[in-house]
């Protein structure tokens, strides 16, 4: 068996652009899923009962569905439901956001619950509203505690973006598979893809380890 690694170099521009899309998808998903996660967590904790139940249903639904199914669902069902013709990229983003928001909501809820009641009472005794107490006292502490969990979610998300390749989003996995199909260089392309994911993923994982130490809570 002979290898021809030049195929990777020949397609470097396409691979670079695809890697860019993968990174963009990761950032965009988190940028939306963090505030949405906080909102859903707040709804689960403080909202009027029916709204609370709705938020809980959302979390339990999307946390327990395979992401790839959500991706397909977003591709086939979402346009029918909403009447919107979204691009594959936007559809993939929507699917990832739906999934990661559910995870983030649970992470934030756990973080908020871990802050003891006395902290909120101290804030309220100063005359703060519940929202002010949440924003100024509870969330800053909760964020520190859950930072490592959020970072782990981030690393998982970075790899899971490859799942949107099934709806032809031109991110790294999709483009690498396309090149493979055109050149029949299976091993080379899979290796190149693995190398790129790993080289980008490993520093992120190390960053997570560093954050675990940096944000250790001392009381």
């Amino acid at each position: 068996m002979t290898f021809d690694w030049s195929v990777v170099w020949q397609h470097r521009d396409a691979l670079m652009a695809a890697t860019g899309t993968t990174i963009l998808l990761t950032f965009a998903t988190m940028a939306i899923a963090v505030p949405c996660g906080i909102m859903v967590a707040a709804l689960r904790l403080y909202a009027w009962k029916p709204v609370r139940a709705l938020a809980t249903s959302y979390v339990e639904l999307f946390r327990n569905l395979p992401l790839i199914l959500v991706v397909y669902w977003a591709f086939y069902v979402l346009p029918i439901m909403t009447g919107l013709g979204l691009s594959p990229l936007a559809t993939g983003l929507a699917a990832l956001v739906l999934n990661v928001t559910a995870y983030n909501a649970e992470t934030f809820r756990a973080g908020i619950n871990s802050i003891r009641r006395g902290q909120v009472e101290a804030a309220m005794a100063l005359g703060m509203s519940r929202l002010q107490a949440l924003r100024r006292v509870v969330l800053p502490q909760a964020l520190r505690r859950i930072m490592p969990v959020l970072a782990s979610t981030w690393v998982s998300l970075f790899k899971d973006t490859s799942l949107v390749s099934v709806i032809a989003v031109t991110e790294l996995a999709y483009v690498a598979m396309q090149i493979r199909a055109q050149t029949f260089r299976v091993l080379e392309m899979l290796t190149a893809m693995a190398a790129i994911y790993w080289l980008l993923g490993y520093p992120q994982a190390k960053l997570v380890d560093w954050m675990q130490r940096r944000f250790a809570v001392t009381e």
């Binding site: 101290a122 309220m124 005359g127 703060m128």
Partner: protein, 260 residues
Amino acid sequence: MNKSATQSGRTKAGGITIIRYRGVVKRYGDFQALSGIDLDVHAGEVVCLIGPSGSGKSTLLRCTNGLESIEGGDIEFEGTALPRDERELRAVRTRMGMVFQSFELFPHLTALANVAEGPRTVLRKHAAEANRRASAMLAKVGLADKAPNYPSALSGGQQQRVAIARALAMEPDVMLFDEPTSALDPETIGEVLNVMKQLADEGMTMVVVTHEMTFARRVGDWIAVFDAGRIVEQGPPEQIFDAPTTERTRDFLSHLGWTG
């Protein structure tokens, strides 16, 4: 408890009534935590609430600023019944400082930022003004040099003094202390009590739930003895500590080894 018993021998009784409790009832499910509390707190007075654990002292304090709601009776603050509306209640809370047994400093903020937080977020002061006020309050409790420290780097006594400064930064009309020294090492209790004594000397109106009988005897102007959700006796410290009129008060004090 009849009305005359809430007044006789009261040195500062001429002052305005800041807090008036009348028939206050608090229930947790089937448990009656407070069964008809009558008590007045006058301007400039230090009122100490003493009694065994679980007798309702802390509960009454927490009802005073609406952290707990009441099921019966009235609590009046500066002549107006405690509002039920959240927004109005918040306005009342800004005029009552509260100090907790477990300090409850905000661990993610420095000592200075802890004290500046109320003026900044609630009173909407500019950062410079809030910090200036916070510095002054930290100096008042003798902790000017600890301004940049986080709570985790402070001793229990220092944390509680920062908590007192945090409450004072709101310029409250009354200070509520909920067993402020119960969670402290014996050697740091004194520094907190000294700050409280200094506040009392400056004329601050204070309601203090405490197990520190020496403090209650020396600094208190009026003592209320709690048992099983009722005030069994109230009066000036000389009466309570030297000539208690009820068996329950005598029992309680003798259990603490109080000899007068």
